[in-house]
């Protein structure tokens, strides 16, 4: 029997406590590595929200991630705009706006877009953006934008280390809670129903395309936020960040961790990146093959991802629209004469 409905909240609280305490005992190198994982977790969350909640297979999250990275890097290097309060929100805004426009084109047409169409179109856009950036000398061409200065926060430089870590953690928690709130709201109920039986949802009077569009746009914004943080943390933004590799990475994180759980997306990042680090240390040349084999096994034998091994689908299902009690289990007083026949079926 896999976990009850309380297992997931318990995992979430435990992970938050651990994430808050760990930097106090880890080395600078380890904290920087963990910060990178927090930033990538935002990217993974963006894909999980689009696909796992909205049912939009956005195979091009790299596009919005790279865009956010370029916006932050160019603002810092060309416009001397290093304030974290300006550059990072603008990176997020860039992802949001481009995803809104692209999503409008993809999702708001007369005919509903198919899963394959959306997947291929977003992947193609991600690839095209990578090629465009690589060939555009004004934004560094193939070399990208390097030497991105540290962001400033309240007048002080925010260098990679504990300070940056806690900023990234705060943003990750904020995005996680926002996505969690939305996916468990009445809005999330529509999304969950549309993933299961879209035609029925349409027959109830919903037009599902705008719901998907909004989810896609928000996911683009979060990917942009992740990219902006990455550019400041790594000091670099390059064409590869926009491309297929980053987009595929986001998909793999979520597939390994478990689609549609949010926690699974974050877990997928940590498992995959730690496995990469460990394997590359031990097997200098063969590690990508070994990692690929492990990922294949996980996806084949754990179709619900690693999180599915500890929490059942039923236990993960929220009480939509209610964060406290479960009112549906408290029948109200309704006249018995309203009931017809007997519950004999």
């Amino acid at each position: 029997m896999r976990g009850s409905a309380r297992t997931l909240p318990a995992i979430e609280v435990l992970a938050l406590l651990l994430a808050t305490a760990l930097p106090l005992i880890l080395s600078q190198f380890q904290v920087i590595f963990l910060t990178r994982l927090l930033i990538l977790s935002l990217l993974a969350l963006s894909f999980d929200f689009a696909w796992g909640q909205g049912g939009v297979f956005s195979f091009g999250q790299g596009l919005f991630f790279g865009l956010g990275a370029y916006v932050a890097a160019l603002l810092a290097t060309r416009a001397d705009m290093t304030s974290a309060f300006v550059a990072i929100p603008l990176a997020m805004l860039a992802g949001l706006v481009v995803a809104s426009l692209f999503g409008g084109f993809l999702l708001l047409g007369r005919r509903p877009a198919s899963l394959i169409y959306i997947g291929m179109a977003t992947l193609a856009a991600s690839y095209a953006a990578q090629r465009l950036a690589a060939g555009w000398s004004k934004i560094g061409g193939q070399n990208g934008v390097s030497g991105v200065p540290f962001p400033t926060l309240g007048g002080a430089d925010l260098e990679p280390g504990r300070g940056f870590y806690y900023v990234a953690l705060a943003l990750l928690v904020a995005v996680y809670l926002a996505f969690r709130y939305l996916s468990r709201s009445q809005f999330g109920l529509v999304l969950a129903a549309a993933r299961d039986n879209e035609s029925r949802v349409g027959a109830l009077g919903y037009r599902t395309a705008p719901y998907k569009w909004l989810v896609f746009a928000l996911a683009g914004g979060v990917a942009g936020l992740s990219g902006g943080l990455s550019a400041f943390h790594e000091g670099f933004a390059g064409p590869n960040l926009l491309g297929v590799l980053t987009s595929t990475q986001a998909v793999l994180y979520v597939l390994v961790g478990g689609v549609g759980t949010l926690a699974g997306a974050v877990g997928g990042v940590f498992v995959m990146e730690y496995a990469s680090l460990e394997l590359s240390t031990r097997f200098a040349s063969a590690w990508p093959v070994i990692l690929g084999g492990i990922l294949l096994l996980v996806i084949m034998f754990l179709p619900n991802g690693l999180i599915g091994a500890v929490i059942s689908d039923r236990a993960r299902m929220p009480t939509f629209g209610d964060r406290r009690a479960k009112p549906k289990r408290v029948p109200v007083d309704v006249s018995e004469e309203e009931t017809v026949g007997s519950a004999s079926a």
Partner: protein
């Protein structure tokens, strides 16, 4: 006689090399159960789908509460008070019975309201009332896909009725049900007609005869005859083309 809530006039629908509907007129009135019967291929489902908006007629008009809805997509018709259930049960199988009804009830909420779950508490009593009316309260937390066939059909009806529609379109609501389940479904619909107009496509003629106030018979895409169940049972034209169990 009350004015029609849903009315089709001169509906024609042609497919490549085949005419599904030839100038069909049909009026569905409040407080009445209107049966639509006919042999296989007579155009019943096409007409129902045209009224629901999932099939666009080539000619003719469809009015809902006096307004022309011929070109409106299904979701806009639903918002104007039309509700439909499907031949193959079409509940959201992965959600609980409670959430299926909540989904139906909250359909008129705006994005911001749904995002902050603004109508959740207010709709709770309505959800419970719907579930109780359709004998499903004890299954509120059960996954809809795991309910028995009859219970899934009632859940479908509960969802369709939850929004208090002006017109309810039912496509073979008793398909696959046991005799007892059919009896209960008949009782549920007889009560439902006090609040809405009902158009029902059904193969079970006994069910039609006991439930309907008016019956229209389609044959080869045209109206063959129309009247009370008793009149239809005695109609010579209907007898000629339709094998009844009467």
């Amino acid at each position: 006689m009350a004015a029609p809530v849903l009315e089709a006039r001169g509906i024609e629908k042609h497919y490549a090399g085949f005419t599904a509907l030839r100038g069909v007129d049909l009026a569905v009135r409040f407080g009445m159960v209107h049966g639509l019967i006919g042999p296989n291929g007579s155009g019943k489902s096409t007409l129902l789908n045209a009224m629901a908006g999932s099939v666009l007629p080539d000619r003719g008009t469809i009015t809902l509460a006096g307004a022309d809805v011929t070109r409106l997509p299904p979701h806009q018709r639903v918002r104007r008070g039309l509700s439909i259930t499907f031949q193959v049960t079409s509940i959201v199988a992965g959600l609980s019975a409670y959430d299926n009804v909540l989904l139906a009830l909250q359909a008129r909420g705006s994005w911001p309201t749904l995002m902050r779950s603004g109508t959740r508490r207010g709709l709770h009593e309505d959800v419970v009332r719907s579930l109780r009316q359709f004998n499903l309260l004890h299954q509120a937390d059960s996954i809809a896909g795991g309910l028995s066939h009859g219970e899934q059909q009632w859940l479908e009806l509960a969802m369709a009725m939850a929004t208090r529609p002006r017109v309810l379109l039912l496509d073979e609501p008793t398909g696959g049900m046991s005799i007892e389940e059919r009896r209960i479904t008949g009782q549920l619909l007889a009560r439902a007609k006090e609040h809405t107009a009902i158009l029902i496509v059904e193969h079970d003629l006994d069910f039609i005869r006991t439930l309907c106030d008016v019956v229209t018979v389609l044959h080869e895409g045209a109206v063959l005859d129309e009247g009370t169940p008793e009149y239809i049972a005695s109609s010579e034209a209907v007898r000629r083309v339709y094998v009844t169990r009467a």
